[in-house]
């Protein structure tokens, strides 16, 4: 915060450390880009850049929803499983049933239009989120436990629904949403950035967004001041579910297939993106901008190391270290702010 001290109190010196910690993730992202660009010329090639963005867009979309959840001091471990379930339902609607589930090519499909398939995916996400949100607020079970339950239950439902195999082969209109481009930019990338901007505006400039921050900052205080905190909590899990559904649709379109094992372990990448982006797991502090930076950081790191032929095991170690470093930095900065 760029604030002046109250008159009569000693003037605090500009806290350089605060400034650095605030911009640590974006600075580190720029540094990574610079280093990879110097070491590997192919890195900045437009095709590679778009490729990175396309890879980031799916987990990035889910990370946007996760940001809402974590801002209320919650967590959603179920995103990967919900993605799989929503993807299968989406595919099923698009194909009009399981009849020709493996048929490739669009011409002979008897399924429903794209907007219905997409709506079905989003509906599954919203319902999954609502169930978890209600379990958290009504049954007073902690979010970690509820969504851990969701992680296994939704995966089980996906396996049950699919009978184990994939559903593949969609119409061209359907796959356009995952594979198409507008002026060379992949469609999911555009959707990701539009969603990020909208989510940013909602969090910063609407009463709803303010209430999300208030609920995470001090739920009891928010409630005493007339904020419907239970509804806020249900809504953020629905928000997370919405983005799982949207991402499921885009992923199925990109892969021209949906399967029950899609998105396994995705929750970890998504939570890492949000946390590296500076959103506090204790709630109340964080931003969509940070989440976008966090998602890009992981995407750039993975892509750059692949181009440099670095083992994927080392990538995992590095992402783990960055995650812990990011949180350590935030904690330290917060301690200094509280002491100020």
């Amino acid at each position: 915060m760029s604030t002046l001290p109250p008159p009569g109190e000693p003037v605090a010196r500009l806290d350089l450390f605060q400034l650095i910690s605030r911009w640590a993730a974006p600075l580190f992202l720029l540094l990574l880009i610079l280093v990879f660009a110097l070491l590997e010329p192919r890195f900045l090639h437009p095709l590679n850049v778009l490729n990175v963005l396309r890879q980031v867009s799916i987990s990035g979309l889910i990370a946007i929803g996760m940001t809402f959840v974590i801002l209320t001091a919650g967590i959603d471990l179920s995103v990967g499983s919900l993605l799989a379930l929503a993807g299968l339902v989406c595919a099923w609607v698009s194909k009009g049933g399981m009849g020709d589930r493996f048929a490739l090519g669009a011409a002979e499909t008897v399924g429903y239009p794209v907007y219905m398939a997409a709506s079905a995916a989003i509906a599954v996400g919203l319902i999954g989120g609502a169930i978890q949100g209600l379990a958290i607020t009504r049954l007073k079970v902690p979010p970690f436990v509820v969504t851990l339950g969701g992680l296994t239950a939704f995966r089980g439902a996906a396996l049950l629904f699919s009978g184990g195999g994939p559903i593949s082969g969609f119409s061209a209109e359907f796959t356009w949403w995952g594979q198409g481009r507008i002026e060379t930019v992949p469609v999911p990338v555009i959707i990701f950035f539009v969603a990020a901007i909208v989510a940013h505006l909602v969090l910063r400039y609407t009463p709803y967004g303010k209430h999300v921050y208030a609920t995470g900052g001090n739920a009891r205080a928010a409630q005493l001041n007339g904020v419907a905190t239970n509804w806020i909590i249900v809504s953020v899990y629905m928000m997370s579910g919405f983005f799982c559904g949207l991402a499921a649709f885009l992923l199925s379109a990109r892969l021209n297939s949906a399967e029950a094992v899609a998105g396994s372990g995705l929750e970890l990448t998504v939570i890492a993106s949000v946390v590296i982006g500076g959103t506090s797991l204790f709630g109340g502090i964080g931003s969509i901008f940070g989440t976008v930076v966090g998602a890009l950081l992981i995407g750039v790191l993975t892509n750059g190391l692949v181009l440099l032929n670095v083992s994927s095991f080392i990538q995992q170690i590095l992402i783990g270290l960055i995650l812990v470093a990011a949180v350590a930095l935030d904690q330290y900065a917060l301690g200094r702010r509280n002491a100020a």
């Binding site: 604030t3 109250p6 303010k210 001090n218 205080a221 005493l224 100020a340």
Partner: protein
């Protein structure tokens, strides 16, 4: 004496076997400041929470302007001009002073669902309120970084948003430094100047005896004194609180 602004008749509150309040009668008049004292567990916070609509009394009636009222929650009471400064202030540390003042009552623009926050208007109005309270709190500062006195000012400014008639303050001076206590007592005088009825809960004799007009003492859920400050003394109040003096 004029008709009371708010009147409690035979209010009791039980939590299981605990009788937090027993058959309490109390009247508050427009513009007066009442000091509410009592030992820990005497029932002071319970009384405040009943007036504020957080708790419903087990028995008894509440009359506002002579009419019986039932508050089902704090927004109900707030709509009727009753505001509370909670013991822990109920502030969100992660938000700014202005955000906290307007929490749950934001100034919005646009039409639902396309409504956005009018940060400018909220900052201006908060600045006016802080000026009225003669506090140096600045609207856009994060509450996390504020002193105890400034935090009190934020919580009190919140009560001035609507045309509040009754402000309940639960131990506003319990957790702050001596210098800040003076600041808070000044804030209470400002409320009084504006004709607001204040109920001040405090353990500190000097607080009550400098700002209150009337002294009410609770002991184990019973009202044991209700008299003008001018007719009492800190010694008597201490005796009433501890039970050394039975009633007065």
């Amino acid at each position: 004496m004029s008709a009371p602004l708010i009147e409690f008749r035979g209010i009791s509150k039980r939590f299981g076997a605990i009788h937090a309040l027993e058959q309490l009668d109390l009247s508050l008049h427009a513009g007066e400041t009442v000091g509410l004292m009592g030992d820990n567990g005497a029932g002071k916070s319970t009384l405040v929470r009943i007036i504020a609509g957080n708790f419903q009394p087990s028995t008894g009636q509440i009359l506002l302007d002579g009419q019986e009222v039932h508050f089902s929650d704090s927004t109900d009471a707030r709509d009727r001009g009753i505001e509370v400064v909670y013991q822990d202030l109920a502030l969100c540390d992660n938000l700014t002073a202005a955000d906290n003042v307007f929490l749950g009552r934001e100034i919005k623009r646009g039409v639902w669902p396309f409504q956005w926050l009018d940060y400018g208007a909220m900052a201006r109005r908060s600045a006016e309120l802080f000026a009225e309270l003669k506090s140096e709190t600045r609207p856009r500062d994060e509450v996390r970084q504020m002193s105890g006195g400034q935090r009190q000012a934020v919580a009190i400014a919140r009560t001035r948003l609507a045309q509040s008639r009754i402000v309940l303050m639960d131990e506003p001076t319990a957790a702050i430094s001596v210098r800040q206590v003076a600041e808070v007592l000044d804030l209470i005088r400002r409320l009084k100047d504006q004709g607001v009825t204040v109920v001040l809960i405090s353990h500190r004799m000097p607080d009550v005896f400098t700002v209150a007009d009337r002294l009410v003492v609770l002991r184990r859920g019973n009202k044991v004194a209700d008299k003008k400050i001018a007719d009492s003394s800190p010694e008597e109040a201490t005796g009433l609180i501890t039970g050394a003096i039975e009633t007065a």
